[in-house]
């Protein structure tokens, strides 16, 4: 594995998006992963529609009654992949643009699908496996506890204590080997996370969190998606 890796350097990551006042982070995490997978499959970077997931994805977890993807009220990336697999794929952002509300009806047009899922999988809680899957398969959808993100401005977040109960969906796009941690007198490795709160949050929309001990649950809920090699219009 390389010591440093960032999918942004390879053109696999779209610009930072803004979910607005809507708990649709799960849809941004899912589209981000599929955008990366589609890039790997086709060489083409396409911004995909979160609104399609917000409006049309009501996929439920078969193991928990009532746990369904539910627009601004929340969802889960793996069930979003399941929906995308069943629906046939996602439209472009520009064909089905984001509105930040879930009060609209589903306007999915299958003839406008540009990216499709071939399969998806969950990755074990093992940082080397997460890194290997990231490098091999593209950006990964991850869950994280966001309590420190409300006040985060920059640097490598490495809190002494942080709950591992995930409440926010984000996209893992890379890692670095040496974020300087002056108080601990050593260089600390970190994950590079793409968020969906706009470019005026964090480090141009990105968050760095240290690696090594599943901080804020970042290693616990990681999923990878593979895209079909489709031809676009």
């Amino acid at each position: 594995l390389p010591s440093d890796f960032d999918w942004r350097d390879y053109g696999a990551v779209t610009n930072v998006k803004d979910q607005g006042s809507c708990g649709s982070c799960w849809s941004f995490s899912a589209t981000g992963a599929l955008e990366g997978a589609h890039f790997l499959a086709t060489g083409e970077l396409v911004s995909l529609s979160e609104q399609q997931l917000v409006d049309c994805d009501h996929e439920c977890d078969p193991e928990e009654y009532g746990a369904c993807d539910s627009g601004c009220n929340g969802g889960l990336m793996t069930t979003a992949f399941e929906y995308t697999l069943k629906a046939g794929g996602l439209e472009r952002e520009q064909d089905y643009p984001y509105t930040g509300t879930d009060r609209g009806t589903c306007k999915f047009d299958q003839s406008k699908v540009v990216a499709s899922v071939s399969n998806f999988s969950v990755i074990s809680v093992d940082e080397d496996q997460i890194a290997a899957n990231l490098v091999k398969n593209g950006p990964l959808a991850v869950g994280i506890n966001a309590v420190f993100m409300q006040t985060y401005i920059g640097g490598v977040s490495c809190p002494f204590i942080c709950s591992r109960r995930q409440d926010h969906g984000v996209l893992l796009v890379g890692y670095g080997s040496a974020g300087y941690a002056p108080i601990r007198f050593k260089e600390k490795p970190f994950w590079i996370i793409k968020n969906s709160w706009g470019a005026n949050w964090g480090e141009n929309g990105y968050y760095k969190i240290c690696r090594g001990r599943n901080i804020c649950g970042v290693d616990s809920m990681v999923s990878s998606v593979a895209a079909l090699h489709t031809t676009t219009r």
């Binding site: 799960w26 193991e63 496996q129 309590v147 420190f148 401005i153 109960r165 005026n200 240290c210």
Partner: protein, 113 residues
Amino acid sequence: STISMFEADDPLIQQVVSDAEDHLLNAEHHFAAFKTDFGKTYATQEEHDYRFGVFKNNLLRAKRHQAIDPTAVHGVTKFSDLTPREFRRQFLGLRRLQLPSHASKAPILPTND
């Protein structure tokens, strides 16, 4: 005024008093900058005053986060006028993971070389 001369000489007490005064003196300045930077307006004076109270609490929270998370920079963000509950309700939305048994597990990849 309740601090005795003995206590006032204590550097720790001085630091606490100084921090509290700094906080109160700077909060209005920070809130004004926050409103300008993020284009925030409030419909009524009551709403404005309430949000200012929330903002002051978040300044203290950012300071606590800075102490717990010293390798990052914590401070005023566009969410600084939201309570933690409002922040969770409006900007977070991940359902709790019930790892689906039908989801395939990624094969173990080699990580040497």
